[in-house]
Symmetry: C2
């Protein structure tokens, strides 16, 4: 199942959102425009706008209102990727050179700032203070998540709780908010908003865990960046966290890192060790558990066609290869 | 005249704002907290909170409501300084080591992101979508201003218009918004809000021009960073812009820069050339013109004590040495 198939019913509205995104990044500054534009054109899965539109179907769906949320969420997501790439010294993203690689860290910083600012401005087109509050809180958590990601780099003594809290802030909350704000913008009932928030949260957790698995199992072609990047950067994600819980494996892995660096040769070895540790299967199990919880939230929602699409998105996340 | 004297009538409210700022940066992340905290404690002139409080006096002054704006504006200002220091490779700010010098660019980037996020979240405590809109637009312009600052670095062929547009975005709009939002938060009449906005805009322009003058005339002790930093970084501000309009001086200055670098020895010479070019007096004249316009805006406002304080702030800006 491809996401484009899932989105079939939303195609025209999603491309409307897409056009709006393009219009927004038409900044007067040439580098800025090019940087933002390339990034957006490079694609990405548009998970957030898709979820916004589907969630809005549970209320009074008016694309003019809904697009404000959809555009905002994609802008924030894109902004956070630009800043993430600075942290990770990432050279490629979505199969293309990152802003920081093509230009430099400073340009990347300001491109991110600009996209954040645009996003915040765009959400105020919705004249609902509650929407602004929910969004700004999520952004606040997002920035703490980013900072914690640095804080826990190369920290080998962390536990599952640290990891889950980090991916909640870094990924799940923004996806949760996409669903909630979609429903809020269409004036869906409060209860529906909350179930959609929870659905988004669980889906978001599964999404990030899957992302972290793919960094071990995916090929560069599939994931648009070299595999093993997380570990190389010292990001302790679920697969290696599981592996580290075995003292023998731990002793085999840790000496490969010297002053926060690992050779490509050693990296390949450590990736293999993690894969053989059962860390992938364990991560998959945790991800599936979150997906299960996501499905359960949907049971509270009315049986409209959008509900089926939400289920399919959750299924896609459970099975995606990129 | 010292700012602290000006603020005498606001002392208890300003220190209330100060306490709130400290509370806000009490993040759980130790580096983040230390970075934000030191930055805030290092002081700065609190021009923006001061203007917010004074502007609010023209409406129904309720410190609980007003502080939301005052805190927000100081947070945004601080956030933009942190990111600015990354761009400028600045080692000191307000007489202390910058975040990027004490830690690194990445930490500075995220500290800025975090403070921005906190600000945006804080303003939503005011349940007025208009306030959110005005603020987000100003932030948007601010980010463009930051980008233009990079774009025009070492660009010797720029004119007064480029410079004024840049300082408008970088400084004046945020000061204008401080006044406008203070008035808006206290439900002052629309017309009063607009005059205060314009007052703030003119004061902000004068403030930045004065800042740019001080970078030529101030001592390191006075301005909390080495003099001539702007020029060294290739920032073409008003004094040198004026000097460059003289072909002879231009020919004397430009060869000192080689691949965007200038030796400290040459820098001292160029600073002298600019000072002798009449560029300082010219800049002072332009600044005074803006201050004059600021005073004129105040004529439309009722004669309450806050008005006298606004006049004094404008006078302070015209005469400040740091």
């Amino acid at each position: 199942m491809k996401l484009t198939t899932l989105y079939a019913s939303l195609r025209s509205d999603l491309s409307y959102v897409e056009k709006e995104l393009e219009k927004i990044v038409e900044a007067k500054h040439p580098i800025l425009q090019q940087a933002s534009f390339e990034l957006l054109k490079a694609g990405g899965k548009r998970i957030r706008p898709g979820l916004v539109l589907l969630s809005a179907k549970f209320g009074h769906y008016d694309i003019e209102e809904i697009k404000k949320v959809a555009v905002t969420l994609e802008l924030i997501h894109t902004a956070s990727l630009v800043h993430d790439d600075v942290i990770d010294d990432a050279e490629t993203r979505r199969g293309k050179q990152t802003v920081k690689a093509k230009w430099d860290n400073k340009t990347a910083m300001y491109t991110g700032d600009y996209l954040f600012a645009k996003a915040i401005e765009y959400i105020t087109l919705i004249e609902k203070p509650e929407a602004h509050q929910l969004l700004s809180r999520a952004i606040h958590e997002l920035t703490i998540g980013e900072i914690e990601q640095i804080r826990y780099q190369f920290v080998w003594d962390q536990n599952l709780r640290h990891y889950l809290r980090r991916i909640k802030r870094k990924t799940a909350l923004l996806i949760a908010i996409s669903c909630q704000l979609g429903a809020l913008a269409s004036d869906a009932a409060k209860e529906i908003q909350l179930h959609l928030y929870r659905f988004g949260y669980f889906v978001g957790m599964a999404f990030q865990i899957t992302d972290d698995i793919l960094d071990y199992t995916g090929t560069e072609k599939e994931i648009g960046k070299p595999a093993g990047g997380d570990l190389k950067q010292g990001h302790i994600t679920l697969p290696v966290l599981y592996a580290l819980s075995n003292e023998e494996i731990r002793t085999a892995i840790l000496p490969s890192f010297k002053n926060g660096k690992i050779s490509n040769e050693d990296l390949a070895k450590v990736l293999d060790i993690v894969k053989q540790s059962g860390g992938i299967a364990y991560s998959k199990k945790i991800s599936d558990r979150y997906l299960q919880k996501a499905y359960e939230e949907l049971e509270y929602l009315p049986n409209i066609p959008a509900k089926k699409s939400l289920i399919q998105i959750a299924q896609y996340i459970g099975s995606r290869k990129f």
